[in-house]
């Protein structure tokens, strides 16, 4: 088994902020917009370094999305920053018409996604954003797992022409992917090879999947772990190949099981290689207040439940 080491827990939003800071220095076409959450999105350094390229929009997310679309006319690459809820559901039609349908090169960067923003509760905990964004034609959807990967993704999407939804979070989580690692949009990352069950995870639950694989290994179960950072376009070949090898799949995400990574995987398998699948995700529910750890436990989004689901899906083979 490969051993992954947490090199020091960090928040994924800081990966975004540090990536944006680096982009500001190396690409003068990058501009950033924020809707009154500069500190929360870790955009301060970019704003301080490049005040002429930073646009404080105030609490007006719809206007922010429209301005970002307009800024592409003239060759800029706009990065918008606000919470995931206000980056998607609140401004769906603005993204749909002015960005996606208009083929605008806007990067929608969303922090505080999922349950793990914690105590603020359900008004701020969007669990539907992956579904909303992946349904838009032409939209690339990325959900990164740790600080290093979020920083790498932030750099990578500036070089990708087209609208992108980049989803990350608030809490400090294990940082275990390589520092300054390459980020290839649409490419699955094989973290652990195994033969009995495939665990396909995204975002904060990738580390939990690795922990689950350890537990399973102690029971003599060989789990394959794949990190899907890009939900759209999905690396179908990697998913199909792994399902053929292990014969069963668990998907894990901090999102509703309707519309999330699990459904994309299920569609892929239904079309190419029907396979038993269990879902670690929220079950068509809103979130609530609590600490991130409490919430992940209550809603079953942790290593313990991933391991349970793995044993269950193996029994269905």
């Amino acid at each position: 088994m490969k051993i992954y080491e947490n090199t020091g827990s960090k928040d994924t939003r800081s990966g975004f902020g540090d990536g944006l800071t680096e982009l500001g220095k190396k690409n003068e076409n990058v501009v950033a917009l924020c809707a009154d959450l500069t500190g929360s999105l870790k955009m301060n350094a970019f704003a301080d370094n490049h005040p002429e390229r930073f646009f404080q929009v105030g609490i007006a997310e719809a206007n922010m999305m429209g301005i970002a679309a307009g800024m592409t006319v003239g060759g800029k690459i706009p990065f918008t920053g606000t919470f995931a809820n206000f980056s998607t559901g609140r401004v769906y039609d603005q993204i749909r018409q002015s960005i996606a349908y208009s083929d605008k090169n806007v990067k929608i960067c969303a922090s505080h996604s999922g349950l793990t923003l914690g105590e603020d509760g359900a008004t701020h905990q969007i669990l539907e954003d992956i579904g909303l964004m992946k349904m838009l034609p032409g939209m690339t959807v990325i959900n990164t797992c740790d600080y290093n990967q979020t920083k790498a993704a932030t750099l990578a999407i500036a070089d990708h022409h087209g609208p992108v939804y980049l989803r990350f979070g608030r809490p400090k989580v294990a940082n275990f992917t390589p520092e300054n690692g390459a980020f290839e949009i649409g490419k699955a990352v094989m973290l652990q090879e195994g033969t009995d069950v495939t665990i396909i995870a995204t975002g904060h639950l990738v580390w939990e999947a690795l922990e689950a694989a350890k537990t399973l290994n102690e029971k003599g179960i060989s789990a394959e772990v794949i990190n899907i950072h890009t939900i759209k376009p999905l690396d179908e070949a990697a998913i199909i190949a792994s399902a053929k090898k292990t014969g069963c799949v668990v998907t894990a995400e901090e999102h509703n099981y309707l519309g999330g990574l699990g459904e994309s995987v299920a569609r892929t398998l239904a079309m190419h290689h029907p396979t038993a699948q269990e879902f670690v995700a929220t079950q068509d529910t809103f979130g609530e207040s609590g600490t991130p750890a409490q919430l992940l436990e209550k809603y079953g989004l942790n290593a313990e439940n991933i391991a349970l689901k793995a044993e269950k899906v193996i029994s269905r083979k």
């Binding site: 390229r53 007006a60 307009g70 018409q97 208009s102």
Partner: protein, 281 residues
């Protein structure tokens, strides 16, 4: 005043294009299109410095964003007759596989269109972004928008209006087509807009009123006044008072022709009232 007969001839021809486009597919929005014909003809042929060979970025060009996308028939006719694409393509309006979609889009690659519009209230935000980038790029050209008065009921317009003045977006001229009509009736009946001059002034804009919004000479005068107000620290709003359905007597004075196409007899009568000037497509 310079001779504007060529603009008036173009207005008449564009009216014919509008009613012929909507008649051919029995759908589309002639009322607002006819009301804004003089404005768009003047903007593209007398006011804006623009290049019909079309580059999306529009560096060192004036830019126009249509926010009330349903008046696509007039937009398409004015663009075609300015040389953005062949006039003959107007015959494909709203038909399967056309670049002239029901509402304008960049998605099919139609030259002259820089943003999709149709879902209302979004164009001012887009124009602000383009205007701010012009400043970043050291480009001293101007960005223009057009909005329906009913469209001002959308909240995003007022987010954008607040932002534009707070950030001194003074290379922006937003024109409001004040025709007092929307789908369900008059704006007074549906949702009264109140005093638009006071509203925009309270939001930090300079405001010009053009009372004769269907008079080419009055539009030229108003646009010159507006251009003189740019680059003085405030965005500029033009309240353009127009008549919906202008130039076709039975379409004027009501909201009835907002989204209704003429039948064969009505088309013949509309064309009789506007004799061909520059050649039909």
């Amino acid at each position: 005043m310079a001779d504007t007969q060529h603009l008036k001839d173009l207005v008449t021809q564009v009216r014919r294009d509008i009613v012929r486009q909507v008649h051919a597919v029995s759908s589309g929005h002639p009322g607002g299109s006819l009301g804004c014909t003089e404005f768009l003809v003047t903007l593209y042929n007398e006011v804006m410095d623009h290049d019909p060979s079309f580059n999306m970025d529009g560096i060192n060009e004036d830019l126009f964003f249509l926010s009330n996308g349903h008046i696509s028939p007039v937009f398409y006719s004015v663009l075609a007759r300015a040389g953005y694409f062949p006039v003959s393509e107007l015959s494909t309006f709203r038909k399967l596989n056309t670049r002239l979609q029901g509402h304008p889009t960049t998605h099919e690659g139609l030259p002259g269109v820089r943003i999709a519009s149709g879902s209302l209230g979004q164009g001012m935000s887009v124009a602000i972004g383009a205007a701010q980038v012009k400043k970043l790029n050291g480009d001293d050209k101007t960005v223009f928008t057009l909005h329906g008065d009913g469209e001002l009921q959308e909240g995003q317009i007022w987010e954008a209006a607040m932002y534009a003045s707070a950030n001194k977006v003074d290379n922006l001229i937003s024109t409001i087509d004040v025709n007092g009509q929307q789908i369900d009736g008059s704006t007074e009946q549906v949702l009264a807009l109140g005093d638009l001059r006071n509203k925009f002034e309270a939001f930090g804009w300079d405001v010009i009123t053009v009372e004769k919004g269907n008079d080419v000479d009055a539009i030229i005068t108003g646009m010159k006044e507006a251009m003189n107000l740019t680059r003085k620290g405030k965005p500029v709003c033009i309240l353009l008072h127009t008549e919906m359905g202008n130039g076709i007597d039975f379409m004027m004075g009501s909201h009835a022709w907002h989204g209704i196409a003429p039948n064969d007899e009505q088309l013949a009568e509309a064309l009789r009232q506007n004799p061909e000037t520059l050649g039909d497509y």
